[in-house]
Symmetry: D2
Subunit: 326 residues, 4 copies
């Protein structure tokens, strides 16, 4: 009989991004995406979407350049937290415990093989709506904001990595992630992989860094659930002068209708505008896209390819080395 | 430290319903809901939706009256299956093992306290698309059908029970279901409860039977994911003369946009036309609706109440006793 | 050869409503429906939706009770204005010329047979967007507002009348309106009629007043064009405590997906959330709904009937006389 | 006082296209777009969408190459027909009267300055639904088909012309079309123009032919009204192997969400998936896009440009002359 699956990680809990333009970045998430500022401390602003149940899901920290601060996973129990810490320490990727941060208790920090800073924790603070934001919809933590086209909740993170396979295996072995879909090259090495511990098609994606850099961020993603909201928010974005990198499309991978935009600090933000598809099969066989199929994995309904930047731009921003004549 | 949660049940795998009008029921699911007939054996027809990955998710069996045959859950591993069987046997609700059925291997059958027949299993057959149904969308088991307004996958089952609480507790203790939302009466007893093992707000719901009957079915539900499809299928249903019990509405519970229709055999079918909301929090605190709030739990956007039948009609059909003058 | 149709009226240009709670009414249209205040004068506030091209389409005037101030039609040319004035004067319904109002030039005022105050005019002021509202979408007069769920434009007006037929005939003969759909009683008299001069299924509707009152308003209607926006605005309305009279439904008449809500001043407002159907046929044969068909004219997808108030409540509010025993 | 506008043309009534693959073209419109075959005669098949009220709106005629047969406009009255014929004859573009065709009575045929064959008529045959297609929705000529993702009605035609301005002026002067939007080059000559006699932003568009050819067809367009249907039909198209030229986008011009696909005979078909915006202003000032703005006229939400073929491919297919070195 096979080994049983690991059920120790519950979901992606929050992400910290760096921005060289703190206030502009905060205003973007607030006025266009309808998110709320939960707290400020030092150079960091803590934010959440209106259906995020925790105190915060996005931390924006002022920094000389854009990029990923860290991201955080919540375990399924205190015992699960202990088990995962033991495993990560054994594998040699651990950094160590912190006492906690605004919105959560003690957390164990570690690096992905590529160097992305991660943490896991159990104790969390829930958002408590002030009186004027309380709603009769008891499964929603607060009223729908009356500002922008408000995103509903944090969805996933997409990382660039120098060595894709190594990082994918780390997530599988250390944390129990399952590879839901992957794009393979001719040697069957991962060009990109989509992994989850939930019923979503991905909580984390890892894509090979075309510039060969380490530990960069491709994008963070917030969720709408409805295609119309992509059209709606695109109106606000275009008219306010923000740069839409990819107007609403449909990916084959994850069956997502979505779009990509740069927040003013330079990080790429995906907006996920539909239900996608969910994976309930406990024995899911990874979907593998190779060769010609890969184009439809990216643009299922066809049309022009994505812009070159989509495959090269990440944060922190690095420049592609010009090809030298020898 | 608290006991860890149970992760042994993966999801709702299939449902068997009874129909006194087998062919008409099959035609309804085929022509209006775009489902495919997978196989026939004896008095049963096995069907599936186009994004169902298994061989079948709906069994329609000819019977003198409508109602629930049984429903089936898949475990997360073979070991999980053994653990759950041991627990159910200990609790005294077991019926026993069957060798399997079309589409799955050995299954352990048992009754809910109310008498709903259930089963759990591990081994399953996957749908293999014939050449002409193969799709380039590799995470989808077949092409989108060109018939009706095709549902995408099985979503949940809603049961009527004489004693709500007893059945809810059975699902929690024997199978590890978590109560996501509940409607309580003034004595804090469950009027109805919504439970899941997945990130959905419910895989199974249990509502008190207003007629005091046992083991009846309130409805089965298939999923669209998009609100537009409710409008579309409503056109087909109305013009073909089917009876829509509840035209598209939005529930507070589960935040579902959905509608209810009777299939020709008499069973109620819910069509779920949006993403709803997903639950990722491993420590989710059950949402409790009481007193005045309960109305918004049912009709979040207000308007007329649901018809009386919604609270009394189930299958098999039983008639409400007239109130006697004494 | 038949007489040629009249092409003298172009469309519904603006509506004046009365409100006993001026500021609350203005705030409703501003914060929930995303409309802008264009100007204030005396007891009146002039507003418009973001795709309304004229200076204003809604005038809200403070008054001791809710109701219709007047509504206004623009002609297709200055010559057309003269022709219509001559015709109305001949028919004896004229009031006389006014010099103009904020947003338009000289207008000829008159009464419908029931006493609804109307006017027609040619000269109009266009909205000029201030710099910060200018948009690159040159066919849109300003940016999409970042507030509420913004309606796009004025759609139609629905009047209650003591004598339906008389008022319908007046609109046909004096102004060239065409009856697109009607509900008839057993004697083939109009219970209600939907009329237009545009390709819309109605610019004006007239329904028999169940209380036998004269010249009341049933509702005004603003347009979204997309069904999702009904769900979105319903969230804002419910959570802000506004009373939704009819949650999103689909009418058979005009094929409208729409909803009805009371603004704080007491007037009923319809929100039209889809494209409806357009009429291009120059020889359109009025669609007639009678007897049993009438129910589907109102609720095409079935379900509970509309609340009794929908058929009795109008503004100014009048109370139904209790049935007397004689 | 200015001259009054002409109200003699009611709308676009039908289009004849040529196909070298008659049966494949018919199957495309039938199985994917849900249209019905109304009649066959000689080498022509007459079809309609389910909300088209006339006998047919599309004639597909077998021919050695794809292209436009002719297109047809209905007048607003018999008198209007006479007036327009007189005007066209005076201008010297007339061909002459035909007795009629399947679905309509006597028609006057003529050429656009570029040579596109057109006709105008008054008498028309209405579609009479057979018993099994009759619907309780009395403003709809038949039930919604249960096949494909059915288009609702004919929307517009888009022509390529050697001399844009000349053809635009002909439509204005001979037929009373109004130019709603235009793209201008640096010398203020039309690159393209969108014209209508209805409240639509265009019934006819004319674009300069990049190959310098005469009287070609850019595309015909059928209408859905809802954005979701673009996603739905894209699934059917991709999975059935049809070539989507432009996956769902949003034009700035006409505010259309739409997509473009080649039918098997080679003609480009646009599918219009939303309400667009309507023009009610009788004194509409043509929207003019120049220079940098033109890009947003085409792709309002930004992203990659349309493929080069969109600007060069028309039917009949002609090949671009290679640039010669002299």
């Amino acid at each position: 009989m096979e080994k049983e699956p690991i059920f120790d990680i519950a979901h992606l809990a929050h992400i910290e991004i760096y921005s060289p333009k703190l206030e502009e970045t905060v205003t973007f998430f607030k006025d266009i995406l309808g998110m709320d500022e939960a707290e400020r401390q030092g150079k960091s602003v803590y934010m959440r979407a209106y259906e995020d149940h925790y105190h915060n899901t996005l931390v924006i920290t002022e920094n000389h350049e854009a990029g990923l601060g860290h991201f955080s996973l919540r375990t399924t129990s205190p015992q699960a937290l202990e088990r995962r810490v033991a495993e990560i320490e054994k594998m040699g990727y651990g950094i160590g415990w912190i006492e906690g941060d605004i919105g959560h208790g003690p957390a164990y920090q570690f690096n992905s093989p590529d160097g992305h800073k991660m943490e896991i924790f159990w104790e969390v603070d829930y958002f408590q709506a002030p009186e004027e934001q309380k709603t009769a919809l008891l499964n929603r933590p607060q009223r729908r904001p009356n500002r922008g086209v408000p995103v509903r909740r944090l969805d996933h993170i997409n990382l660039l990595a120098k060595e894709t396979n190594e990082n994918v295996e780390f997530l599988e072995e250390a944390l129990g992630f399952k590879v839901r879909e992957r794009i393979l090259d001719d040697d069957d090495k991962d060009i990109a992989a989509w992994l989850s511990v939930t019923n979503l098609a991905h909580d984390i994606a890892i894509m090979g860094d075309a510039l060969g850099e380490e530990a960069r961020l491709h994008h963070i993603c917030y969720w709408y659930g409805y295609p119309q909201h992509l059209t709606d928010v695109a109106e606000l974005l275009v008219e306010a002068g923000h740069e839409i990198e990819v107007a609403p499309i449909k990916h084959g991978i994850s069956q997502a209708q979505c779009m990509y935009v740069y927040e003013p600090g330079g990080n790429r933000v995906e907006l996920f505008g539909d239900s996608g598809y969910l994976i309930f099969d406990p024995d899911w066989k990874t979907v593998e896209w190779k060769g010609e199929d890969a184009a439809q994995a990216i643009l299922w309904h066809g049309g022009s390819n994505l812009p070159a930047d989509f495959f090269e731009y990440g944060t922190p921003v690095r420049v592609k080395e010009p090809v030298k004549n020898s």
